[in-house]
Amino acid sequence: MKKIKQWLIGITITLLLFSGCKSESTKSVKEKDVSDFTFMSIGSFSVEQIEDNWTEVRDGAGRTLVLIPHGTKAPDGYEPYQVVHIPVKRIVAYGSFDTAVLKVLGVIEDVLVGVTTKMEDWTIPEVISGMKQGKIAYLGDYNTIDFERLKAQEPEVVLTWDPSIIPMLNEMGVACVITSTPVAMCLTARMRFVSFLAPFFNREKEAKAYFTRVSQSLEQIRKKTLNAGPKPKVMWGDIYEKRVLVEPGNAWVGELVGLAQSDYMFNDVYGRSCIEISLERFLYSGEESDILFTYRTPKTGATSKMALAKINPMLAGVKPLKDGKVYSPLTNYSQSGDKLDEILTDIAAILHPECYPEHRLQYFTELPEKDPKRIM
Protein backbone atom coordinates (compact mmCIF):
# COMPACT_ATOMS: atom_id res chain seq x y z
CA MET A 1 0.00 0.00 0.00
CA LYS A 2 2.82 2.34 0.98
CA LYS A 3 4.60 1.61 -2.31
CA ILE A 4 1.43 2.36 -4.31
CA LYS A 5 1.11 5.68 -2.49
CA GLN A 6 4.73 6.56 -3.26
CA TRP A 7 4.21 5.68 -6.91
CA LEU A 8 1.05 7.79 -7.08
CA ILE A 9 2.83 10.80 -5.56
CA GLY A 10 5.74 10.32 -7.95
CA ILE A 11 3.51 10.11 -11.04
CA THR A 12 1.47 13.15 -10.02
CA ILE A 13 4.55 15.26 -9.32
CA THR A 14 6.05 14.27 -12.69
CA LEU A 15 2.80 15.14 -14.47
CA LEU A 16 2.63 18.47 -12.66
CA LEU A 17 6.24 19.25 -13.53
CA PHE A 18 5.61 18.57 -17.22
CA SER A 19 2.39 20.57 -17.16
CA GLY A 20 4.42 23.73 -16.69
CA CYS A 21 7.00 23.05 -19.37
CA LYS A 22 6.54 24.34 -22.87
CA SER A 23 9.14 25.65 -25.22
CA GLU A 24 8.26 29.29 -25.92
CA SER A 25 10.77 29.48 -28.75
CA THR A 26 8.86 27.02 -30.91
CA LYS A 27 5.53 28.74 -30.21
CA SER A 28 6.20 31.69 -32.45
CA VAL A 29 7.27 29.75 -35.51
CA LYS A 30 4.89 26.81 -35.49
CA GLU A 31 1.64 28.76 -35.44
CA LYS A 32 -1.55 27.06 -36.48
CA ASP A 33 -3.82 28.54 -39.11
CA VAL A 34 -6.31 30.96 -37.53
CA SER A 35 -9.13 28.87 -38.99
CA ASP A 36 -7.80 25.82 -37.09
CA PHE A 37 -8.88 27.31 -33.79
CA THR A 38 -12.30 27.02 -32.22
CA PHE A 39 -10.98 29.15 -29.38
CA MET A 40 -8.10 31.59 -29.29
CA SER A 41 -7.00 33.85 -26.44
CA ILE A 42 -5.05 36.97 -27.36
CA GLY A 43 -3.98 38.60 -24.11
CA SER A 44 -7.22 39.94 -22.62
CA PHE A 45 -9.07 39.33 -25.89
CA SER A 46 -10.54 36.07 -27.10
CA VAL A 47 -12.30 34.63 -30.13
CA GLU A 48 -14.48 31.52 -29.93
CA GLN A 49 -16.12 29.85 -32.89
CA ILE A 50 -19.26 28.37 -31.37
CA GLU A 51 -20.96 27.30 -34.59
CA ASP A 52 -20.36 27.97 -38.29
CA ASN A 53 -22.40 31.17 -38.20
CA TRP A 54 -21.80 32.09 -34.60
CA THR A 55 -18.57 33.54 -33.19
CA GLU A 56 -18.26 34.94 -29.70
CA VAL A 57 -15.54 37.50 -28.94
CA ARG A 58 -14.38 39.02 -25.69
CA ASP A 59 -13.02 42.56 -25.88
CA GLY A 60 -10.31 44.23 -23.80
CA ALA A 61 -12.75 45.09 -21.03
CA GLY A 62 -14.07 41.52 -20.82
CA ARG A 63 -17.36 42.35 -22.60
CA THR A 64 -18.84 39.63 -24.76
CA LEU A 65 -19.98 40.31 -28.32
CA VAL A 66 -21.50 37.87 -30.76
CA LEU A 67 -20.65 37.95 -34.46
CA ILE A 68 -23.27 36.60 -36.86
CA PRO A 69 -23.59 36.96 -40.63
CA HIS A 70 -25.93 39.64 -42.03
CA GLY A 71 -29.48 38.38 -42.28
CA THR A 72 -29.05 35.79 -39.54
CA LYS A 73 -31.10 35.82 -36.33
CA ALA A 74 -29.04 36.43 -33.20
CA PRO A 75 -28.85 33.48 -30.80
CA ASP A 76 -30.77 33.79 -27.52
CA GLY A 77 -29.13 35.15 -24.40
CA TYR A 78 -27.52 38.26 -25.87
CA GLU A 79 -28.58 41.88 -25.45
CA PRO A 80 -29.12 43.75 -28.77
CA TYR A 81 -26.00 45.88 -28.24
CA GLN A 82 -23.88 42.70 -28.05
CA VAL A 83 -24.80 41.59 -31.56
CA VAL A 84 -22.55 42.49 -34.50
CA HIS A 85 -23.50 41.56 -38.05
CA ILE A 86 -20.52 40.52 -40.15
CA PRO A 87 -18.81 41.43 -42.33
CA VAL A 88 -18.88 44.89 -40.74
CA LYS A 89 -19.33 47.53 -43.42
CA ARG A 90 -18.96 50.79 -41.48
CA ILE A 91 -16.64 51.33 -38.54
CA VAL A 92 -15.29 54.15 -36.37
CA ALA A 93 -11.82 53.81 -34.81
CA TYR A 94 -10.42 55.94 -31.99
CA GLY A 95 -6.89 54.56 -31.87
CA SER A 96 -4.24 54.74 -34.55
CA PHE A 97 -3.17 51.14 -33.90
CA ASP A 98 -6.75 49.95 -34.51
CA THR A 99 -6.77 51.95 -37.74
CA ALA A 100 -3.47 50.39 -38.81
CA VAL A 101 -4.93 46.93 -38.13
CA LEU A 102 -7.79 47.73 -40.51
CA LYS A 103 -5.10 48.39 -43.10
CA VAL A 104 -3.52 45.00 -42.39
CA LEU A 105 -6.89 43.36 -42.99
CA GLY A 106 -7.25 45.23 -46.28
CA VAL A 107 -10.55 46.86 -45.33
CA ILE A 108 -9.52 50.37 -44.30
CA GLU A 109 -10.71 52.07 -47.49
CA ASP A 110 -14.03 50.23 -47.51
CA VAL A 111 -15.12 50.35 -43.87
CA LEU A 112 -13.52 53.25 -41.98
CA VAL A 113 -16.02 56.12 -41.64
CA GLY A 114 -14.87 58.04 -38.58
CA VAL A 115 -11.76 58.92 -36.58
CA THR A 116 -10.87 61.14 -33.62
CA THR A 117 -7.61 62.53 -34.99
CA LYS A 118 -7.47 65.56 -37.30
CA MET A 119 -6.46 65.08 -40.93
CA GLU A 120 -3.17 66.95 -40.53
CA ASP A 121 -2.05 64.50 -37.83
CA TRP A 122 -2.50 61.39 -39.96
CA THR A 123 0.30 59.65 -41.85
CA ILE A 124 -1.78 56.75 -43.23
CA PRO A 125 -2.45 57.67 -46.91
CA GLU A 126 -5.78 55.79 -47.02
CA VAL A 127 -7.11 57.83 -44.07
CA ILE A 128 -5.91 61.14 -45.51
CA SER A 129 -7.51 60.46 -48.90
CA GLY A 130 -10.71 59.19 -47.21
CA MET A 131 -10.94 62.37 -45.18
CA LYS A 132 -10.29 64.52 -48.24
CA GLN A 133 -13.08 62.75 -50.09
CA GLY A 134 -15.41 63.23 -47.12
CA LYS A 135 -15.90 59.49 -46.63
CA ILE A 136 -14.06 59.47 -43.29
CA ALA A 137 -15.26 62.07 -40.81
CA TYR A 138 -13.33 63.70 -38.00
CA LEU A 139 -15.71 63.20 -35.06
CA GLY A 140 -13.99 65.54 -32.63
CA ASP A 141 -11.53 64.99 -29.84
CA TYR A 142 -12.07 61.90 -27.64
CA ASN A 143 -13.69 63.98 -24.87
CA THR A 144 -15.80 66.15 -27.16
CA ILE A 145 -17.17 63.60 -29.60
CA ASP A 146 -19.84 65.02 -31.89
CA PHE A 147 -22.45 62.29 -31.43
CA GLU A 148 -24.72 63.81 -34.09
CA ARG A 149 -21.88 63.47 -36.59
CA LEU A 150 -21.12 59.98 -35.36
CA LYS A 151 -24.77 59.00 -35.84
CA ALA A 152 -24.77 60.51 -39.33
CA GLN A 153 -21.82 58.30 -40.28
CA GLU A 154 -24.00 55.25 -39.41
CA PRO A 155 -21.25 53.04 -38.01
CA GLU A 156 -22.07 49.46 -37.08
CA VAL A 157 -19.11 49.20 -34.70
CA VAL A 158 -16.95 51.68 -32.77
CA LEU A 159 -13.43 50.62 -31.74
CA THR A 160 -12.41 52.66 -28.72
CA TRP A 161 -10.36 52.78 -25.56
CA ASP A 162 -12.88 55.06 -23.82
CA PRO A 163 -15.62 53.09 -22.00
CA SER A 164 -17.57 56.26 -21.13
CA ILE A 165 -19.15 56.28 -24.61
CA ILE A 166 -20.70 52.82 -24.17
CA PRO A 167 -24.06 54.13 -22.79
CA MET A 168 -24.47 56.54 -25.71
CA LEU A 169 -23.56 53.87 -28.25
CA ASN A 170 -25.99 51.43 -26.64
CA GLU A 171 -28.75 54.02 -27.02
CA MET A 172 -27.80 54.49 -30.67
CA GLY A 173 -27.73 50.72 -31.26
CA VAL A 174 -24.07 50.74 -32.24
CA ALA A 175 -21.81 47.95 -30.98
CA CYS A 176 -18.78 49.08 -29.02
CA VAL A 177 -15.49 47.20 -28.83
CA ILE A 178 -12.96 48.22 -26.18
CA THR A 179 -9.54 47.68 -27.73
CA SER A 180 -7.42 48.74 -24.77
CA THR A 181 -6.62 46.34 -21.95
CA PRO A 182 -6.21 46.70 -18.18
CA VAL A 183 -2.76 45.10 -18.51
CA ALA A 184 -0.28 46.02 -21.26
CA MET A 185 -0.28 43.75 -24.30
CA CYS A 186 2.61 41.30 -24.44
CA LEU A 187 4.49 40.78 -27.70
CA THR A 188 2.35 37.84 -28.83
CA ALA A 189 -0.88 39.70 -28.03
CA ARG A 190 0.34 42.75 -29.94
CA MET A 191 1.16 40.58 -32.96
CA ARG A 192 -2.05 38.62 -32.73
CA PHE A 193 -4.47 41.47 -32.04
CA VAL A 194 -5.15 41.44 -35.77
CA SER A 195 -6.68 37.96 -35.34
CA PHE A 196 -9.17 39.43 -32.86
CA LEU A 197 -10.46 41.98 -35.39
CA ALA A 198 -10.25 39.62 -38.40
CA PRO A 199 -13.58 37.78 -37.79
CA PHE A 200 -15.41 41.14 -37.86
CA PHE A 201 -14.57 41.32 -41.56
CA ASN A 202 -14.05 37.63 -42.44
CA ARG A 203 -10.37 38.39 -43.05
CA GLU A 204 -8.70 35.56 -41.16
CA LYS A 205 -6.28 34.82 -44.02
CA GLU A 206 -4.91 38.37 -43.98
CA ALA A 207 -4.50 38.15 -40.20
CA LYS A 208 -2.55 34.92 -40.52
CA ALA A 209 -0.28 36.37 -43.24
CA TYR A 210 0.48 39.39 -41.02
CA PHE A 211 1.20 37.21 -38.00
CA THR A 212 3.52 34.98 -40.00
CA ARG A 213 5.35 38.03 -41.38
CA VAL A 214 5.89 39.57 -37.92
CA SER A 215 6.84 36.16 -36.43
CA GLN A 216 9.49 35.70 -39.10
CA SER A 217 10.87 39.16 -38.43
CA LEU A 218 11.02 38.36 -34.72
CA GLU A 219 12.85 35.14 -35.47
CA GLN A 220 15.34 37.13 -37.57
CA ILE A 221 15.91 39.53 -34.67
CA ARG A 222 16.43 36.60 -32.31
CA LYS A 223 19.00 35.04 -34.62
CA LYS A 224 20.82 38.27 -35.47
CA THR A 225 21.19 39.44 -31.88
CA LEU A 226 21.90 36.04 -30.36
CA ASN A 227 25.65 36.60 -30.17
CA ALA A 228 25.53 40.38 -29.99
CA GLY A 229 27.96 42.37 -27.87
CA PRO A 230 27.35 43.57 -24.32
CA LYS A 231 23.71 43.94 -23.29
CA PRO A 232 22.63 47.57 -23.35
CA LYS A 233 20.38 48.75 -20.51
CA VAL A 234 17.17 50.24 -21.79
CA MET A 235 14.39 52.38 -20.34
CA TRP A 236 11.18 53.47 -22.06
CA GLY A 237 9.21 56.34 -20.56
CA ASP A 238 9.28 59.98 -19.62
CA ILE A 239 8.92 62.48 -16.82
CA TYR A 240 5.97 64.83 -17.14
CA GLU A 241 4.96 67.81 -15.01
CA LYS A 242 3.60 65.75 -12.12
CA ARG A 243 3.76 62.21 -13.41
CA VAL A 244 6.35 59.68 -14.45
CA LEU A 245 5.10 57.23 -17.07
CA VAL A 246 6.90 54.13 -18.33
CA GLU A 247 6.26 50.95 -20.28
CA PRO A 248 6.08 48.05 -17.79
CA GLY A 249 8.14 44.87 -18.12
CA ASN A 250 5.07 42.91 -19.25
CA ALA A 251 4.52 45.25 -22.21
CA TRP A 252 5.61 44.16 -25.69
CA VAL A 253 8.52 46.62 -25.72
CA GLY A 254 9.90 45.16 -22.49
CA GLU A 255 9.62 41.66 -23.92
CA LEU A 256 11.26 42.69 -27.20
CA VAL A 257 14.18 44.34 -25.41
CA GLY A 258 14.79 41.08 -23.53
CA LEU A 259 14.48 39.02 -26.71
CA ALA A 260 17.04 41.24 -28.45
CA GLN A 261 19.73 40.45 -25.84
CA SER A 262 19.27 43.67 -23.84
CA ASP A 263 18.24 44.52 -20.29
CA TYR A 264 14.96 46.28 -19.75
CA MET A 265 15.21 48.41 -16.62
CA PHE A 266 11.49 48.23 -15.75
CA ASN A 267 11.15 44.46 -15.91
CA ASP A 268 9.91 44.45 -12.34
CA VAL A 269 7.11 46.91 -13.13
CA TYR A 270 3.82 45.19 -13.99
CA GLY A 271 0.59 46.68 -15.25
CA ARG A 272 -1.01 48.65 -18.04
CA SER A 273 0.81 50.40 -20.83
CA CYS A 274 2.04 53.89 -19.90
CA ILE A 275 1.98 53.04 -16.22
CA GLU A 276 2.82 55.59 -13.56
CA ILE A 277 5.83 54.96 -11.31
CA SER A 278 7.58 57.08 -8.71
CA LEU A 279 10.16 59.64 -9.75
CA GLU A 280 12.74 57.97 -7.50
CA ARG A 281 12.26 54.62 -9.26
CA PHE A 282 12.73 56.27 -12.67
CA LEU A 283 15.84 58.16 -11.62
CA TYR A 284 17.30 55.04 -10.00
CA SER A 285 17.06 53.14 -13.30
CA GLY A 286 18.24 56.24 -15.13
CA GLU A 287 21.59 56.09 -13.33
CA GLU A 288 22.51 52.82 -15.06
CA SER A 289 20.68 52.97 -18.39
CA ASP A 290 22.41 53.33 -21.74
CA ILE A 291 19.37 54.02 -23.91
CA LEU A 292 16.19 55.98 -23.24
CA PHE A 293 13.14 55.79 -25.47
CA THR A 294 11.02 58.84 -24.75
CA TYR A 295 7.29 59.09 -25.42
CA ARG A 296 7.74 62.64 -26.66
CA THR A 297 8.01 63.18 -30.40
CA PRO A 298 10.00 66.00 -32.01
CA LYS A 299 6.58 67.71 -32.39
CA THR A 300 6.00 67.63 -28.63
CA GLY A 301 9.41 68.97 -27.70
CA ALA A 302 11.84 66.07 -28.08
CA THR A 303 14.18 67.81 -30.53
CA SER A 304 17.43 67.31 -28.60
CA LYS A 305 18.74 66.06 -25.27
CA MET A 306 19.12 69.65 -24.16
CA ALA A 307 15.52 70.44 -25.13
CA LEU A 308 14.31 67.44 -23.10
CA ALA A 309 16.37 68.54 -20.11
CA LYS A 310 14.93 72.03 -20.45
CA ILE A 311 11.34 70.69 -20.40
CA ASN A 312 12.10 68.72 -17.25
CA PRO A 313 15.38 69.44 -15.42
CA MET A 314 15.00 66.21 -13.39
CA LEU A 315 15.48 64.25 -16.61
CA ALA A 316 18.89 65.86 -17.15
CA GLY A 317 20.32 63.61 -14.42
CA VAL A 318 19.68 60.30 -16.17
CA LYS A 319 22.65 58.59 -17.84
CA PRO A 320 21.22 58.38 -21.39
CA LEU A 321 20.94 62.17 -21.44
CA LYS A 322 24.41 62.68 -20.02
CA ASP A 323 26.46 60.17 -21.96
CA GLY A 324 24.06 57.67 -23.49
CA LYS A 325 21.54 57.69 -26.31
CA VAL A 326 17.99 59.04 -26.42
CA TYR A 327 15.49 58.02 -29.11
CA SER A 328 12.22 59.70 -29.92
CA PRO A 329 9.39 58.14 -31.94
CA LEU A 330 8.60 59.81 -35.24
CA THR A 331 5.03 60.80 -36.14
CA ASN A 332 4.54 57.67 -38.25
CA TYR A 333 5.50 55.33 -35.37
CA SER A 334 2.12 55.18 -33.63
CA GLN A 335 0.24 54.86 -36.93
CA SER A 336 2.35 52.06 -38.40
CA GLY A 337 0.97 49.05 -36.57
CA ASP A 338 0.63 47.41 -39.97
CA LYS A 339 4.44 47.51 -40.23
CA LEU A 340 5.10 46.05 -36.80
CA ASP A 341 7.90 43.89 -38.27
CA GLU A 342 9.73 47.03 -39.40
CA ILE A 343 9.20 48.73 -36.02
CA LEU A 344 10.58 45.68 -34.19
CA THR A 345 13.61 45.64 -36.51
CA ASP A 346 14.14 49.38 -35.92
CA ILE A 347 14.21 48.82 -32.15
CA ALA A 348 16.58 45.85 -32.51
CA ALA A 349 18.88 47.98 -34.70
CA ILE A 350 18.92 50.70 -32.03
CA LEU A 351 19.81 48.18 -29.31
CA HIS A 352 22.49 46.41 -31.37
CA PRO A 353 23.66 48.68 -34.22
CA GLU A 354 26.63 46.33 -34.73
CA CYS A 355 24.18 43.64 -35.94
CA TYR A 356 22.47 46.00 -38.39
CA PRO A 357 25.29 48.01 -40.00
CA GLU A 358 23.26 49.03 -43.07
CA HIS A 359 20.00 49.77 -41.28
CA ARG A 360 18.38 53.20 -41.56
CA LEU A 361 15.86 54.07 -38.84
CA GLN A 362 12.34 54.70 -40.11
CA TYR A 363 10.28 55.12 -36.95
CA PHE A 364 12.69 56.61 -34.43
CA THR A 365 15.23 59.37 -34.42
CA GLU A 366 18.30 59.70 -32.21
CA LEU A 367 18.27 63.02 -30.41
CA PRO A 368 21.35 65.23 -30.87
CA GLU A 369 23.03 66.84 -27.86
CA LYS A 370 21.76 70.30 -28.76
CA ASP A 371 19.25 71.78 -31.18
CA PRO A 372 20.97 73.05 -34.32
CA LYS A 373 21.45 76.83 -34.23
CA ARG A 374 18.84 78.70 -36.19
CA ILE A 375 20.05 81.16 -38.79
CA MET A 376 18.22 84.43 -38.19
Binding site: Q6, L16, S19, G20, G43, S46, S164, V183, R243
Partner: protein
Protein backbone atom coordinates in the same frame (compact mmCIF):
# COMPACT_ATOMS: atom_id res chain seq x y z
CA UNK B 1 -3.30 12.10 3.90
CA UNK B 2 0.25 13.47 4.30
CA UNK B 3 0.96 12.55 0.68
CA UNK B 4 -2.14 14.43 -0.43
CA UNK B 5 -1.12 17.56 1.48
CA UNK B 6 2.37 17.37 -0.08
CA UNK B 7 0.86 17.06 -3.55
CA UNK B 8 -1.48 20.02 -2.91
CA UNK B 9 1.48 22.12 -1.77
CA UNK B 10 3.50 21.12 -4.82
CA UNK B 11 0.56 21.79 -7.12
CA UNK B 12 -0.05 25.21 -5.56
CA UNK B 13 3.62 26.11 -6.02
CA UNK B 14 3.30 25.43 -9.75
CA UNK B 15 0.00 27.32 -9.72
CA UNK B 16 1.70 30.34 -8.20
CA UNK B 17 4.16 30.57 -11.08
CA UNK B 18 1.48 29.88 -13.70
CA UNK B 19 -0.80 32.58 -12.30
CA UNK B 20 2.07 35.02 -12.23
CA UNK B 21 3.24 34.35 -15.78
CA UNK B 22 -0.17 33.90 -17.47
CA UNK B 23 -2.68 36.02 -15.50
CA UNK B 24 -4.82 36.69 -18.59
CA UNK B 25 -5.67 32.99 -18.82
CA UNK B 26 -7.07 32.87 -15.29
CA UNK B 27 -8.84 36.26 -14.94
CA UNK B 28 -11.86 35.20 -17.02
CA UNK B 29 -12.66 32.38 -14.59
CA UNK B 30 -14.12 35.02 -12.27
CA UNK B 31 -16.77 36.20 -14.67
CA UNK B 32 -17.42 33.51 -17.26
CA UNK B 33 -17.93 30.60 -14.85
CA UNK B 34 -15.87 27.46 -14.45
CA UNK B 35 -17.63 25.25 -17.01
CA UNK B 36 -17.28 27.79 -19.82
CA UNK B 37 -13.70 28.55 -18.73
CA UNK B 38 -12.75 24.86 -18.90
CA UNK B 39 -14.27 24.66 -22.36
CA UNK B 40 -12.29 27.67 -23.62
CA UNK B 41 -9.19 28.87 -21.77
CA UNK B 42 -8.80 25.68 -19.70
CA UNK B 43 -8.64 22.99 -22.37
CA UNK B 44 -6.89 25.18 -24.96
CA UNK B 45 -3.99 26.03 -22.64
CA UNK B 46 -3.51 22.74 -20.83
CA UNK B 47 0.19 23.28 -20.10
CA UNK B 48 -0.66 26.40 -18.12
CA UNK B 49 -3.94 25.24 -16.57
CA UNK B 50 -3.32 21.57 -15.73
CA UNK B 51 -2.30 22.45 -12.16
CA UNK B 52 -5.81 23.83 -11.53
CA UNK B 53 -7.47 20.62 -12.69
CA UNK B 54 -5.14 18.64 -10.44
CA UNK B 55 -5.95 21.00 -7.57
CA UNK B 56 -9.68 20.40 -8.01
CA UNK B 57 -9.12 16.63 -7.93
CA UNK B 58 -6.94 16.93 -4.82
CA UNK B 59 -9.45 19.24 -3.13
CA UNK B 60 -12.28 16.83 -3.93
CA UNK B 61 -10.29 13.95 -2.36
CA UNK B 62 -9.44 16.14 0.64
CA UNK B 63 -13.09 17.14 1.06
CA UNK B 64 -14.38 13.56 0.87
CA UNK B 65 -11.64 12.45 3.27
CA UNK B 66 -12.43 15.27 5.70
CA UNK B 67 -16.17 14.59 5.54
CA UNK B 68 -15.80 10.84 6.18
CA UNK B 69 -13.24 11.22 8.98
CA UNK B 70 -15.14 14.05 10.68
CA UNK B 71 -18.49 12.24 10.46
CA UNK B 72 -16.88 9.07 11.84
CA UNK B 73 -15.49 10.96 14.85
CA UNK B 74 -18.67 12.96 15.43
CA UNK B 75 -20.75 9.77 15.45
CA UNK B 76 -18.36 8.22 17.99
CA UNK B 77 -18.71 11.37 20.12
CA UNK B 78 -22.51 11.22 19.93
CA UNK B 79 -22.48 7.52 20.82
CA UNK B 80 -20.44 8.31 23.93
CA UNK B 81 -22.30 11.49 24.83
CA UNK B 82 -23.34 9.98 28.16
CA UNK B 83 -19.66 9.82 29.17
CA UNK B 84 -19.57 13.60 29.40
CA UNK B 85 -20.91 14.81 32.74
CA UNK B 86 -21.63 18.30 31.32
CA UNK B 87 -23.33 19.09 27.96
CA UNK B 88 -21.04 22.12 27.55
CA UNK B 89 -17.96 19.90 27.69
CA UNK B 90 -19.47 17.72 24.98
CA UNK B 91 -20.11 20.80 22.80
CA UNK B 92 -16.51 21.95 23.34
CA UNK B 93 -15.31 18.56 22.07
CA UNK B 94 -17.19 19.20 18.84
CA UNK B 95 -15.23 22.41 18.10
CA UNK B 96 -12.63 21.02 15.63
CA UNK B 97 -15.35 19.05 13.81
CA UNK B 98 -17.50 22.17 13.51
CA UNK B 99 -14.52 23.91 11.91
CA UNK B 100 -14.04 21.00 9.49
CA UNK B 101 -17.71 21.07 8.47
CA UNK B 102 -17.50 24.88 8.12
CA UNK B 103 -14.55 24.50 5.77
CA UNK B 104 -16.52 22.02 3.67
CA UNK B 105 -19.49 24.42 3.50
CA UNK B 106 -17.13 27.20 2.37
CA UNK B 107 -15.66 24.95 -0.33
CA UNK B 108 -19.17 24.02 -1.40
CA UNK B 109 -19.99 27.74 -1.61
CA UNK B 110 -17.00 28.35 -3.88
CA UNK B 111 -17.98 25.37 -6.02
CA UNK B 112 -21.55 26.72 -6.42
CA UNK B 113 -20.16 30.16 -7.09
CA UNK B 114 -17.80 29.02 -9.86
CA UNK B 115 -20.45 26.79 -11.39
CA UNK B 116 -23.49 29.03 -11.35
CA UNK B 117 -22.66 32.68 -10.55
CA UNK B 118 -23.58 35.30 -13.13
CA UNK B 119 -21.12 38.20 -13.54
CA UNK B 120 -21.64 41.20 -15.77
CA UNK B 121 -18.54 43.28 -16.48
CA UNK B 122 -18.10 46.82 -17.80
CA UNK B 123 -21.44 48.32 -16.85
CA UNK B 124 -20.84 52.01 -17.45
CA UNK B 125 -23.01 54.52 -15.60
CA UNK B 126 -22.96 58.24 -16.36
CA UNK B 127 -24.24 60.78 -13.79
CA UNK B 128 -28.02 61.21 -13.97
CA UNK B 129 -28.28 58.22 -16.32
CA UNK B 130 -29.80 54.77 -15.85
CA UNK B 131 -28.77 51.26 -16.76
CA UNK B 132 -30.76 48.04 -16.82
CA UNK B 133 -29.18 45.08 -15.07
CA UNK B 134 -28.72 42.49 -17.87
CA UNK B 135 -31.35 39.75 -18.08
CA UNK B 136 -33.53 41.38 -15.42
CA UNK B 137 -36.11 44.14 -14.95
CA UNK B 138 -33.94 46.01 -12.41
CA UNK B 139 -32.95 49.59 -13.24
CA UNK B 140 -29.90 51.27 -11.73
CA UNK B 141 -29.61 55.07 -11.67
CA UNK B 142 -26.50 57.09 -10.78
CA UNK B 143 -27.86 60.02 -8.78
CA UNK B 144 -24.56 61.63 -7.90
CA UNK B 145 -20.86 60.93 -8.32
CA UNK B 146 -18.65 62.43 -5.66
CA UNK B 147 -14.88 62.31 -6.17
CA UNK B 148 -12.49 63.71 -3.54
CA UNK B 149 -9.27 65.14 -4.95
CA UNK B 150 -6.12 65.54 -2.88
CA UNK B 151 -5.60 69.18 -2.01
CA UNK B 152 -2.77 68.84 0.52
CA UNK B 153 0.72 70.25 0.20
CA UNK B 154 2.73 67.30 1.51
CA UNK B 155 2.42 64.98 -1.51
CA UNK B 156 2.98 67.24 -4.50
CA UNK B 157 2.54 64.48 -7.10
CA UNK B 158 -0.88 63.65 -5.64
CA UNK B 159 -2.18 67.19 -5.96
CA UNK B 160 -5.61 67.25 -7.66
CA UNK B 161 -5.56 63.43 -7.95
CA UNK B 162 -8.58 61.37 -6.85
CA UNK B 163 -8.25 59.81 -3.41
CA UNK B 164 -11.81 58.69 -2.80
CA UNK B 165 -14.91 58.07 -4.85
CA UNK B 166 -18.51 57.58 -3.81
CA UNK B 167 -21.50 57.04 -6.04
CA UNK B 168 -25.11 57.43 -4.93
CA UNK B 169 -27.20 54.77 -6.65
CA UNK B 170 -30.90 54.06 -6.81
CA UNK B 171 -31.78 50.53 -7.85
CA UNK B 172 -35.36 49.51 -8.41
CA UNK B 173 -37.60 46.83 -9.82
CA UNK B 174 -41.39 46.36 -9.63
CA UNK B 175 -41.31 45.34 -5.97
CA UNK B 176 -38.75 47.57 -4.29
CA UNK B 177 -36.45 50.60 -4.52
CA UNK B 178 -33.07 50.82 -2.80
CA UNK B 179 -30.94 53.95 -2.52
CA UNK B 180 -27.40 53.39 -1.37
CA UNK B 181 -23.85 54.69 -1.56
CA UNK B 182 -21.32 52.69 -3.56
CA UNK B 183 -17.59 52.86 -2.84
CA UNK B 184 -14.47 50.81 -3.58
CA UNK B 185 -14.78 48.68 -0.47
CA UNK B 186 -18.50 49.15 -0.11
CA UNK B 187 -20.63 47.15 -2.54
CA UNK B 188 -24.35 47.78 -2.83
CA UNK B 189 -26.71 44.85 -2.27
CA UNK B 190 -29.96 44.45 -4.14
CA UNK B 191 -30.96 40.85 -3.65
CA UNK B 192 -29.98 38.67 -5.49
CA UNK B 193 -27.48 41.13 -7.01
CA UNK B 194 -24.39 42.78 -5.60
CA UNK B 195 -22.94 45.86 -7.29
CA UNK B 196 -19.17 46.47 -7.08
CA UNK B 197 -17.25 49.57 -8.13
CA UNK B 198 -14.46 48.69 -10.56
CA UNK B 199 -13.31 51.98 -12.07
CA UNK B 200 -14.24 55.61 -12.44
CA UNK B 201 -13.24 58.83 -14.21
CA UNK B 202 -11.95 61.50 -14.06
CA UNK B 203 -9.10 60.45 -11.79
CA UNK B 204 -7.39 63.80 -11.93
CA UNK B 205 -8.57 67.41 -12.09
CA UNK B 206 -5.70 68.24 -14.43
CA UNK B 207 -4.29 66.27 -17.35
CA UNK B 208 -6.59 64.28 -19.65
CA UNK B 209 -10.05 65.75 -19.59
CA UNK B 210 -12.22 62.64 -19.15
CA UNK B 211 -16.01 62.31 -19.09
CA UNK B 212 -17.34 61.44 -15.59
CA UNK B 213 -18.48 57.81 -15.24
CA UNK B 214 -18.32 54.77 -13.04
CA UNK B 215 -17.68 51.21 -14.18
CA UNK B 216 -19.46 48.61 -12.05
CA UNK B 217 -19.42 44.83 -11.87
CA UNK B 218 -22.83 43.26 -11.26
CA UNK B 219 -22.84 39.82 -9.63
CA UNK B 220 -25.54 37.30 -8.90
CA UNK B 221 -23.83 34.70 -6.78
CA UNK B 222 -25.84 31.88 -5.18
CA UNK B 223 -22.68 30.53 -3.53
CA UNK B 224 -22.33 33.66 -1.42
CA UNK B 225 -24.71 32.53 1.33
CA UNK B 226 -22.85 29.23 1.65
CA UNK B 227 -19.41 30.66 2.17
CA UNK B 228 -20.71 33.37 4.48
CA UNK B 229 -22.53 30.68 6.53
CA UNK B 230 -19.34 28.62 6.46
CA UNK B 231 -17.32 31.56 7.74
CA UNK B 232 -19.76 32.21 10.60
CA UNK B 233 -19.77 28.52 11.52
CA UNK B 234 -15.97 28.42 11.37
CA UNK B 235 -15.74 31.46 13.66
CA UNK B 236 -18.15 29.76 16.08
CA UNK B 237 -16.06 26.56 15.99
CA UNK B 238 -12.88 28.56 16.54
CA UNK B 239 -14.48 30.31 19.52
CA UNK B 240 -15.46 26.96 21.06
CA UNK B 241 -11.97 25.61 20.38
CA UNK B 242 -10.40 28.65 22.09
CA UNK B 243 -12.64 28.18 25.16
CA UNK B 244 -11.71 24.50 25.21
CA UNK B 245 -8.00 25.32 24.96
CA UNK B 246 -8.23 27.99 27.69
CA UNK B 247 -10.05 25.65 30.09
CA UNK B 248 -7.43 22.96 29.42
CA UNK B 249 -4.63 25.45 30.12
CA UNK B 250 -6.34 26.53 33.34
CA UNK B 251 -6.65 22.90 34.41
CA UNK B 252 -2.96 22.29 33.77
CA UNK B 253 -1.88 25.32 35.82
CA UNK B 254 -4.22 24.31 38.68
CA UNK B 255 -2.75 20.82 38.76
Amino acid sequence: MFGLIVMIMFDLTIGYFMLKSHPHLFHPINDMGFVKWVDTYGKNNLYETAWLFFLIIFMAILSVNTFICTTKRVSVLFRNQSAFNQTFRFILKLAPHIMHYALLIMLLGYLISYLSAETYLSNILLPEKSLRIPNSSCEMHLNRLHIDYYQGERLQYMHNRAINVQADLTIQNKEKTVTSRLGFNKPVWFFPYSIHLKDFAPKSKSGMNRRAYIDVIIKKDPGLKYYFSGMILFTFGLLLYSIHWLTQQKKITEE
